[in-house]
Symmetry: C2
Subunit: 682 residues, 2 copies
């Protein structure tokens, strides 16, 4: 039941000719689906409307031929085919009473145009910081009129596709901001000079869009306010003045701060609501509805924010990916069921680099269409009376147990050798800055506690004999992985000489410490583990050297927008970084290896932590499956292997793997993932 | 007319149940089109068949759900829709009498599976060198049988789609090679151990594919032979033994060497035919037809190679992109018309990173469907008597003049201020290792010399008055760009203090030399220019420091597969590299700046070469277009701006830009590229 303190979140909010049914608003964000995977897009967004988000937007929609974003995936709305494609999504959102938004966009100097081969253009001639050897040409007044009319044409198509909210997108340093900035706009005509001139492009575009579709749709704009340095040199005072000028033309202001890594800051480096210092200032300039983000998942915090008057709508991208049903859970007073965003930005890595969004917390994100998965609904098993034994309560095992419980299995035993559940997350969450990742365990613990059919048994190690004697008809082995300590490293035939038995992340996290003061952490993994161990040891006073075979430290963190901050953090912690080094041997004095150029390299250290690669802990599975007779005799019908015990991957994939097996357990061969539906353009 | 010395190249060659009409064979290579852009793929490959390639293949075709290559584009052939999509291509190839090939593939441990989320698998459990934190699981015998049957299913679909040649693809370190290697195959069952066991997976797959489609199609395999270290540890002796074992099952052996950067080595670091030492050894093991590559463009060399008996077919990927009509030009004795591949690997960068292939030499590559461009045919202008003046004979100007000449314009004047044509290529081709890029100029010079309607005038600088007085009705300004020397740098508001007037690449290449012995080359461009200047100066004895704002030296070169070699080359030349540095000021003692962590950084040098960004040389265009009356009075109907003078980009894009304008000059507004056709899946 809705807590009256949260009732304010469910007030309807008029925006222009439309009414948002409540204050929950999924701001535009990319998914990898664009308009080329229309059913996937529709299912992904429709679920959010079903879960209670009153406004649901798709990703950016380039309006002009020279705003080509390929190979990135965008919600292009260039012609009738795109209109038909995006109509699926608008209808899926409407089906649950929410409003649908589309974000019209031109990148200007940030446009890629690498596939289309159009020259890039900008308010003034300017070289791009992106490394494609390209200087954008200055827009002519014909260009200005053309792009404005492209915004209008895009807006008309968005309306025809059924969208209720149409953005003229200005944030994140794109074309509108480029016009506003004195740095990128050095024009001497009526579109440059003072703020009125620099604002003219955006104001005219807004006016024309409003004139074309303002009776039918709400007109929104996305802006960036930043009090430190602004974006592209637009100071907050100028942006507030722009808001005042745009106010009569705009029905909704969508507010961001800083560049993308900051706007979508991860929990490692940005607390929830870190943007508020700047974003709340927009209220000084307008009484129109304002949406702001802050990775909020706590309804008390949300309600307080609305009461403060700073914002009118609770914007969310990542919290709505992690839990599409967040609003409905608040409405029903089921606060403990909210699956809170960890702020790990696996979503961003997946949509940017893999072109298919996913989530470390919500394994159904992006799987709504192709696998038919609903985040809150589970097919009930037709054969509930089989006993399922899950060995190992890491991310995969916890998730499998929870899904089986929700699917109606009457007896699910989750047996864990350690004294607490969580698997590798038990120690991962204790690495510096990674505390919020603990939400992956905490939420599952809460869910499991609500499922009477799931029994959690900790502190019990099962041998193959124990498993056979357990009385289960289905056994799921989820025994996880360990970090290799034998000195072998990916991509190299020979192991590191004399490195066998060196420290590993787990051993450090269970209390073991390096001998001596100077220690090397050797990273072939390239993500968060080695930097975490290095930072931890540095904080304890060790002289830490982070040596990595990768050309940069933690390349994966660049995919999560964390790279520069992570490296800065290490640097500030006194960790000395040695990228591009392959370690070949450990000696009494330290380690030796070679540089990327094949030159010999040495480092004097007293101890070594190996973060080379993970090895499945699959002995139990091997032992069980090699004796079919014993299984038959014991009444075990099936033995499955999931998560890191099968193939060590990211935590998101271990969760996914457990989820998938549990969903598909009644299929003839659940060990191999069922075929997925293929989407296709309209 | 065919030179009798080259007649051997046009002999038909039987392969299994098929007959290749000649010895020209376009080996499988990626395009960015896969099966998702069926008409684009068909047009791209069909042109090659039209141009005389007797065998034409599409790119790799993953056979299994756990060989998912997303986000890379592959010629998936998973179902009837894919069959229908790829049939377009087979038919386009057949229309010109050539044979169509498809390359069935499983990546094993190299599969991505990031979009599909399947766990990766391999002959034995193994960590991947790719940085996705992933250890592949060991394949079960069920997996082995499943993948083999996937190869068979793929082969049947390939046949049904109309393909004549079906590959079981084993090169480049993929699954078949992983089975062959003792390094990656540590199995103790019948699929490991001695070579016979390690070869069994591939031999069974070949046998099954042959059984299924061998009466209808030729069965090919692609292998890698490398005498230095092998690929994945497979020595050449073992590979030759494998060829002997596979011989009865295979109709065509397609031979590569080394890893991809070596197999597709650029002209900077690998001479033509560098693979031959190893690839010719395959003849020891089989009498079946062998195809080998070597970036060959010279028919004498090709004929000698066939006569030697080492190869039976002249394989080509890049030379067929640069000139789809290479075979036909040889057949017609038009050797001077062959547009020779430069070996710049812009094709690879474009298909890998931009998902749309292109070429630095052939601006029509990849544009056959969406723009309707044919590499050898040009729409004749309906109004040939307009005089066209092109100012500037760089890549854009040369290309525009050539295309206008071929389109039947009666008077095209190409006026160049310098004493020779070529624009920035005049000096680019003189940078160390970049000689083959001169082919861009040389081929166009040859073509222009054959066009009586094109007049080339060098050593003449035209003022705006000169242009008005010239008597042309159409003026095309192609005045190129220059490197900025004012110390401004992309992405930064403030210029480098006191750097104005520093050396630039052009000044170095026209003979100016640094003052003093120690010199810094500062690179914000990130491609070949700064490394080239650094290497040149180092070779002359300067102490050269290559300082770059990018996190690695020349990140673009990683896209062309040149990065590691380029950096090794610089290192071996004694150039000291300083990545991740932003230069902020020049002083009497040298330069100062900051590291990526914001720490102060200084370097003592006596001079500085700025390779920050290019500035359009567009003064002539500005001056002409600001006085419409003067243009009218002078009888100038149109003034166009192309190439670097509009927007400095890569050379490939300048060539494209000149080509596009010339193709579209008769449209109502040729300054803005005409809309392109959108392809769509079947």
């Amino acid at each position: 039941m809705l807590d009256p303190r949260h009732a304010i979140l469910f007030e309807p909010v008029p925006i222009g000719p439309k009414i948002l049914p409540n204050r929950f608003y999924q701001v535009p964000h990319a998914s990898g689906f664009g308009s080329s995977q229309p059913r996937t897009q529709a299912a992904f967004r429709g679920i959010k409307a079903e879960g209670g988000w009153g406004g649901v937007c798709v990703e950016y929609s380039p309006v002009s031929a020279d705003a080509d974003e390929e190979p990135h995936v965008a919600a292009y709305i260039r012609d009738d085919r795109d209109v038909a494609a995006l109509r699926y999504t608008a209808e899926a959102i409407h089906a649950h009473g929410a409003l649908a938004g589309l974000e019209l966009y031109h990148g200007g100097n940030s446009s890629k145009n690498v596939s289309s081969r159009h020259p890039r253009m900008a308010p003034s001639q300017s070289a791009a910081a992106i490394s494609w050897g390209s200087t954008a040409r200055e827009m002519t007044t014909d260009d200005i009129r053309r792009v404005q009319s492209d915004f209008v044409a895009g807006a008309r198509r968005a309306r025809d596709a059924g969208f209720d909210i149409v953005y003229v997108y200005g944030a994140h340093g794109y074309l509108l901001t480029q016009f506003l900035s004195t740095w990128t706009n050095r024009r001497t005509d009526g579109y440059g000079g003072g703020l009125a001139g620099r604002a003219r492009f955006a104001l005219e575009a807004l006016e024309q869009v409003r004139e074309a579709i303002g009776d039918d749709c709400a007109v929104a704009t996305r802006i960036c306010v930043d009090g430190r340095r602004g974006v592209k040199g637009v100071r907050i005072e100028d942006m507030l003045e722009f808001v005042r000028m745009a106010d009569p033309l705009v029905d909704l202001f969508d507010v961001t701060v800083g560049s993308w890594p900051e706007d979508s800051g991860t929990s490692r480096y940005y607390p929830e609501g870190h943007q508020l210092t700047w974003t709340r200032r927009v209220r000084e300039a307008t009484r129109k509805p304002i949406v702001g983000v802050g990775r909020y998942t706590n309804p008390d915090q949300m309600a307080a924010l609305i009461r403060s008057g700073d914002f009118d709508l609770i914007g969310a991208a990542r919290p709505a990916i992690a839990d599409p049903f967040l609003p409905r859970k608040i409405a029903e007073g089921r606060l403990g069921d909210i699956r809170e965003c960890t702020g790990a930005n696996v979503c961003i890595l997946k949509e940017e680099d893999f072109r298919h969004i996913g989530c470390i917390q919500n394994p159904t994100a992006g799987e709504e269409f192709r696998r038919g998965w609903h985040p809150e609904r589970f097919d009930q098993t037709s054969d509930p009376d089989r006993t399922v034994l899950i060995v190992g309560a890491g991310p995969a095992g916890m998730e499998a147990a929870m899904v089986l419980g929700k699917r109606g299995f009457a007896a699910v035993h989750l047996v864990e050798a350690e004294d607490e559940i969580g698997g590798r997350l038990r120690w991962t969450r204790r690495l510096p800055t990674l505390g919020d990742w603990g939400r992956i365990v905490d939420w599952r613990r809460t869910q499991l506690d609500q499922l009477p059919s799931v029994e959690i048994i900790t502190g019990r190690t099962l041998s193959d004999r124990d498993v056979l004697d357990y009385g289960a008809s289905i056994v799921i082995v989820a025994t996880g992985s360990r970090w290799s300590d034998d000195g072998s490293q990916p991509g190299r035939l020979r192991a590191i000489d004399n490195a066998s038995g060196s420290l590993t992340p787990e051993r450090v996290m269970t209390g073991e410490r390096p001998r001596g003061q100077r220690v090397a952490v050797y990273d072939c993994d390239g993500y968060f583990v080695a930097p975490g161990i290095a930072e931890l040891l540095a904080a304890e006073g060790y002289d830490v050297h982070l040596v990595t075979s990768h050309p940069v430290v933690s390349p994966m963190s660049d995919g999560t927008l964390e790279g520069p901050m992570l490296r800065q953090h290490l640097h500030d912690s006194g960790v000395v970084m040695h990228p591009g080094i392959t370690v070949l041997a450990r000696s009494a004095d330290g380690i030796t290896g070679e540089t990327e150029y094949g030159d010999p390299w040495t480092l004097e250290v007293e101890d070594l932590v190996l973060v080379t690669h993970q090895v499945p802990v699959d002995e139990l599975h091997r032992s069980l499956t090699q004796d079919a007779d014993a299984l038959r005799t014991a009444g075990v019908d099936a033995v499955h292997l999931i998560g890191d015990a099968q193939s060590p991957r990211w935590i998101s994939e271990a969760v996914f793997d457990g989820h998938r097996l549990a969903r598909e357990l009644d299929l003839p061969d659940p060990s191999f993932p069922a075929p997925v539906l293929r989407d296709q353009p309209v």
